[in-house]
Symmetry: C2
């Protein structure tokens, strides 16, 4: 949803089909095989709506499945890791980049590989923060408990004196304030949601796929569990109405 | 696993087929429909092993699916709610019982109904504690952050002066120490895992299904995601080897 929000802001004329796998989230603690199988089903569902472009708006799915998705399908599919890694490489001054993410994303070393593919001399330090997703989901945004948990997670990155920190999970921008307070103002936080939206805009332009502003655009939301809670949380977060939302059976795809 | 551990202790001669839905957990935040569909698949899988008796060792699944499971299948299927409710009714002195559980369990009011079915005069107060599952899973057992989160969750129950508190989620026994510290020593904590194991023993006896101690017994573990992390966490928790564990595709059942 953090990625979708940025895309809606940057590309208001595009028609968007959103799928949220609310019946099987979170992906963070799951294995490579399971995340891949889920990701294939998700893409199959989106293709059934004849989309022109797909964003895998989840770091764990990007880390574990993006390469396989791009091998199997012809349509352009982008993830959230490459844009965040690019932005971090540009942002760092002292050559030390921190990465935080789910257990899956960190174990995959996807950010490390992406950063070293561009700048092998940079130092990359990473830490998984498994409690952040639940804390963000439960609205523990600016709370003492979150502060305590975050201080422990981030301690080793402070000691390594990273000057740039990638928020390598689409939930983490919700905890930006706490993370920034702990890391200090001088550390640049890279929000992969923001970077990904810019990348989507760039690629749509490059491939001549941008939609004109003439026709009215639509947004359709699909989820794999009951829509109620999704609508409640989603509207509060988007600060906008979620009009059209349906539950689908993702295991059929 | 907290339920399985108690069953292994109390019924060491029984053969046990354990299924952990590690590819789709946690059930706590999911809707009634999804939890029911998952539960039917889980029972179908266990039946494919020709078990004689099934324990739904999850409060959310018991709350949302037990009745439907018992309607559809002939084999005895028990949940964790009835045994916990019974024990609380027996334990309370001042007639005020607290219940903590996942969002699903609390919204279902399953404990309230079970308690009032036996003793309509008792007062039941319940609170959902959605962060407890992640905290327990991540080993935040005796930590300051957990203490802060728990203090907030339990505050209203302390004010209501409950003298008995049902730990209405199979993860919560892991946080017993923190919960007890906050509630005070005089509040009796009801561990539904323990109560359920006793109930299983009782019912097996009643139905003449108890296995003799003659033949060697086995334990087989199945999970819906990669077994590694399950084995690691499971062995630490059971303080015993998990020899035979296989990944299955639960969506086929």
């Amino acid at each position: 949803m953090t990625v979708a929000k940025k895309i809606f802001q940057l590309l208001p004329h595009e028609n968007v089909i959103y799928f949220g796998d609310t019946g099987r989230y979170p992906y963070g603690p799951r294995s490579r095989q399971v995340v891949r199988r889920f990701s294939f089903q998700n893409v199959n569902f989106l293709l059934s709506h004849r989309v022109k472009f797909i964003v895998v708006a989840c770091n764990t799915a990007s880390a574990f499945a993006l390469e396989q998705l791009n091998k199997r399908y012809d349509i352009p599919i982008v993830g959230v890791i490459e844009p965040g890694a690019m932005a971090a490489v540009k942002a760092t001054r002292n050559g030390k980049i921190g990465v935080i993410g789910t257990v899956g994303t960190i174990e995959s070393e996807a950010y490390q590989k992406a950063i070293h593919g561009k700048a092998p001399e940079l130092e990359v330090y990473s830490v998984s923060c498994p409690l952040f997703v639940s804390l963000a989901e439960e609205g523990y945004i600016n709370r003492k408990a979150t502060y305590l948990v975050a201080s422990e997670y981030l301690d080793s990155l402070i000691k390594k004196r990273v000057d740039t920190l990638i928020l390598g999970c689409t939930h983490y921008p919700l905890l930006k304030r706490v993370i920034s307070k702990i890391m200090g103002k001088k550390v640049k936080l890279i929000d992969s949601a923001e970077q990904t939206a810019k990348e989507v805009q760039h690629l749509l332009k490059m491939e001549g796929l941008l939609k004109g502003s003439g026709k009215k655009s639509f947004r359709k939301f699909y989820v794999s569990d009951a829509p109620d809670r999704f609508v409640e949380v989603g509207e509060r977060f988007l600060k906008d109405k979620i009009e059209e939302v349906k539950r689908i059976d993702i295991e059929k795809y």
